[in-house]
Symmetry: C2
Subunit: 525 residues, 2 copies
């Protein structure tokens, strides 16, 4: 209801003021969908690029028709983003994550997703703090530099995931997807942790406080999400909802997930992490307690909600880029602006390289298995580095949260930071996005055979998946079991993560599944 | 975003102000769902009653904790209702309507749903105009009396539909459901048609203008809805969305349906009618062009959206009933108020009786078939009369639209009309709702056997359905075809609606389906 500006709604009080922008926006969303579908086979573009470019075009048209007054259909309220658009995206990420692979690659994912954000934030913050004043941009506080660091450390891996084939490079896919999700959560949590840092409190103690604050937020948010997921599973199992209607089941899953998110926001925790874990737990337990039609519906309906929200955001970013007011507000000269953009872009490139390659080395070192397919190769490292260069919705939302009040900015420095974020998101999504498909084809030539024919129904199972299956299937002949048991023991000794996973599985089967429900064996990923 | 009051949001500017009410509301919604499920087998209550009662309880708690300041979590904006809550409810009604039965009983449905609303509105308006001043309520304009008439002529048949068994009394179910949908649309269209009538213009010309205005709105809205439905079908068929993802298919259906609704609102047509026909057309054509998983998902996801929206509204009605401000604003004495409520209630009872019984007689007279199961019996007439006595969401929304400005009323007469609407909705839903199950069991004793065991999977096909099947199935043996062909010819001569239906079917098969897609034969209802 607050999509149009409050003033307009109050002054005019007519339905039209609210309905016109919504109508146009929905129409443009439909257009995006159709054009996105038509360009699906194109080797350069993807959905995000399509949405941004359509947003730019529509923004231009509005700018002309409104006589240079505005390029926006809707005033972007960061509340709109955090309360309505982000939850479905993250919930769906948790709900559709391949839990088996996610937890198998838990250590590298956490290294990239958590440690990586800390390293990247430090480098970007320090770089900005050092270089911005030299370029003529002064007046940012320490807390703002740190915020800028987190804003530009949040990645958007959608581009890359659209190109990677999950079945051909399962490790790489899992790492990129897992890092993307953990990165989203980490950057939001870290953003909240650094917002209240002041210059006087900077130093070792402050760093410690950030880390402690981060750990506190991380743990409490996770606990809340897990609780919500388990609660939903318990209710759906205990009360036997499916006997009567799948409508109630679906509604209950959506409402409890949303409740967990909004509760986390209420307690100033990380809703993003909470709803992610609620999604993971629901797909692990609750999903198995509902009727067949509810299962199919939740899978697709949650994905559709997430898809609409994502398209909405990219479309908005495109339109917002032409917001005349913000550009006028920013008082910097053209060349200074270019300097700022290049600096930030360079810091993003360096900041990401500074953790992907060292951390990959550590992950490879820690991985004791002899199996070469579990190592992160050089090509993979470059793909991971590249995959995280795009900046997207979360960056925009965080920037709006830091530098505007309900979407409006009146300060030149704040306006500069908003325009910088917009430029970085546009540039990285469009330019880097365009290059992603060709780059991945060059680095991973085996991928090319299948690209453009996503419909091939039968794909050979990858070697990696074959290797992990013995651990997870219970319906085998005795002789197979014996030979596999030997394998298992040697593997458990070699790979500590597997041991943890195995203990968890036993605990899960013995205590959790009887209470909360779930698949009979672990062969469902 | 506008769920909390604007003032609060602007003055305090914190996230908490918006998040707290949303959190509580979502939590209460979850509670409603679980309690509604637990009470499912109860012979007295249904979902609407549960939601209203929970709303009352929560309202009381808020009233106490806020120290008599407010009983509301959210300010009800009639925009919220018309822009976000109503479209999913009506779209799902259109999407899930049994088209075969709906069109077979087209004449009685239209008699009840359109002519009935006109008769009921005339009686309620005239009665109020005659009795209100005598009770001491003066100051309403002619246009407001007419609005009151339409507000209290809009029915809520959900209660009754929960009790009726579609397979046991197909005719009755189809009539009640069909009337409910058409009634919703008619009352909204009529409401918009009478809003601008002034005292000076009242007379034969005004009545003609209302009818013409109504016909214009009815036709244009239908055309828009049909166009939207066909467009969605054509896009989904022509561009072969399913090849890539059902996510896009689902998103496109939702977005085009919503676009049609909001476009209708923009052009001041009836969005309710538009989105209803968009739903009908999409389930007739588009639904058959999408993948299997999209079909299951859309069926259940749309129903879930509708369910959440409905529960939301009833919950709100319960909370709003305790709104202290409105009660204080209304300056009438206790006994005058009781007089007003009783008068309106009586007018509703009379107004509905005045068209159900005569129109049933006409419908029976027009139905030339010898088959007794196609006649509306006396018991059925009483059930139809009863089913339409409940007042629900649409009444509340229309009352808010007529008598408040963004949910706030400052005028004593307007406040009285709002409280009257609330009381009528509460009373009719709770009291009449409680009596519905016992009444229907008394009137239709055959129903009792199955009530309370909704899960019985195999039900005998009703005679009615057996009779209509020959018209609709193409895969039969030759001998059966011959005997049925004779039946068909005699039936076509006897029942004009069947003839129209048959012509339509030929046209549909020859021209529409090849372009827009659809089931291969008509056996899908």
């Amino acid at each position: 209801m607050d999509l149009t500006s409050d003033d307009a709604a109050i002054n005019l009080g007519t339905t039209h003021q609210q309905v016109v922008p919504i109508t146009l926006f929905v129409a443009v969303l439909c257009l995006c969908l159709v054009i996105g579908h038509l360009l699906d086979e194109n080797r350069w573009v993807n959905e995000s690029i399509t949405a941004i470019i359509i947003g730019l075009v529509v923004g231009t048209i509005i700018l002309f028709t409104s006589k240079w007054k505005s390029s926006q259909l809707l005033r972007f309220d960061e509340q709109l983003f955090f309360i309505y658009l982000l939850p479905p995206i993250i919930f769906n990420a948790g709900f559709s994550v391949k839990k088996k692979q996610f937890f198998h690659n838990f250590i590298p994912i956490m290294l990239f997703g958590v440690t990586g954000v800390f390293i990247s934030t430090s480098i970007v913050s320090a770089g900005c703090w050092w270089l911005f004043p030299k370029l003529g941009l002064k007046g940012l506080t320490i807390s703002e530099y740190l915020s800028v660091g987190t804003i530009f450390s949040s990645t958007d891996t959608v581009c890359t995931l659209q190109v990677l084939q999950q079945d051909e490079t399962p490790l790489l896919y899992s790492l990129v997807f897992g890092e993307g999700v953990v990165n989203d959560a980490t950057s939001v949590v870290l953003f909240n942790a650094v917002r209240n840092i002041t210059a006087s409190s900077l130093g070792g103690k402050a760093a410690l406080r950030i880390v402690l604050n981060f750990l506190y937020l991380f743990c409490t948010s996770t606990v809340l999400g897990v609780t919500a997921g388990l609660l939903a599973s318990y209710i759906l199992r205990g009360l036997g909802f499916g006997r009567h209607s799948s409508v109630r089941e679906i509604s209950l899953m959506i409402l409890i997930a949303y409740l967990s998110y909004i509760l986390a926001e209420l307690f100033e925790l990380s809703g993003i992490l909470t709803v992610f874990f609620a999604g993971v737990l629901m797909s692990h337990y609750a999903w198995h307690n509902v009727t067949e039609s509810s299962r199919i519906t939740t899978r697709h309906a949650f994905a559709a909600m997430s898809f609409i929200a994502e398209t909405f955001i990219f479309l908005y970013v495109g339109m917002d880029a032409l917001d005349y007011e913000k550009w006028r507000m920013s008082t910097l000269s053209f060349w200074t602006s270019i300097g700022i953009y290049s600096t930030v872009m360079m810091l993003i490139l360096v900041g990401r390289a500074a953790f992907v390659f060292p951390l990959s080395f550590i992950a490879n070192y820690m991985d004791k298995s002899e199996d070469p397919s579990s190592k992160i190769t050089g090509q993979h490292q470059v793909v991971i580095w590249w995959a995280g260069l795009m900046r997207g919705a979360v960056s925009v939302a965080l920037a709006f949260k830091q530098f505007t009040l309900s979407g409006v900015t009146l300060d030149p420095i704040n306006a500069t930071m908003i325009t910088t974020t917009t430029v970085i998101v546009l540039f990285s999504t469009v330019v880097f996005g365009f290059l992603t498909k060709p780059l991945i084809r060059y680095l991973l030539p085996s991928n090319t055979s299948n690209t453009g024919s996503n419909t091939s129904p039968s794909r050979s199972t990858s070697p990696k998946e074959d290797m992990t299956l013995p651990l997870l299937s219970f319906e085998e002949s005795a002789s197979e079991n014996l030979s596999r048991a030997k394998e298992n023991i040697s593997m458990l000794m070699e790979r500590p993560v597997y041991t943890i996973h195995s203990y968890w599985r036993r605990f899960d089967d013995a205590y959790m599944r009887p209470i909360f429900g779930g698949a009979r064996s672990h062969d469902l990923s």
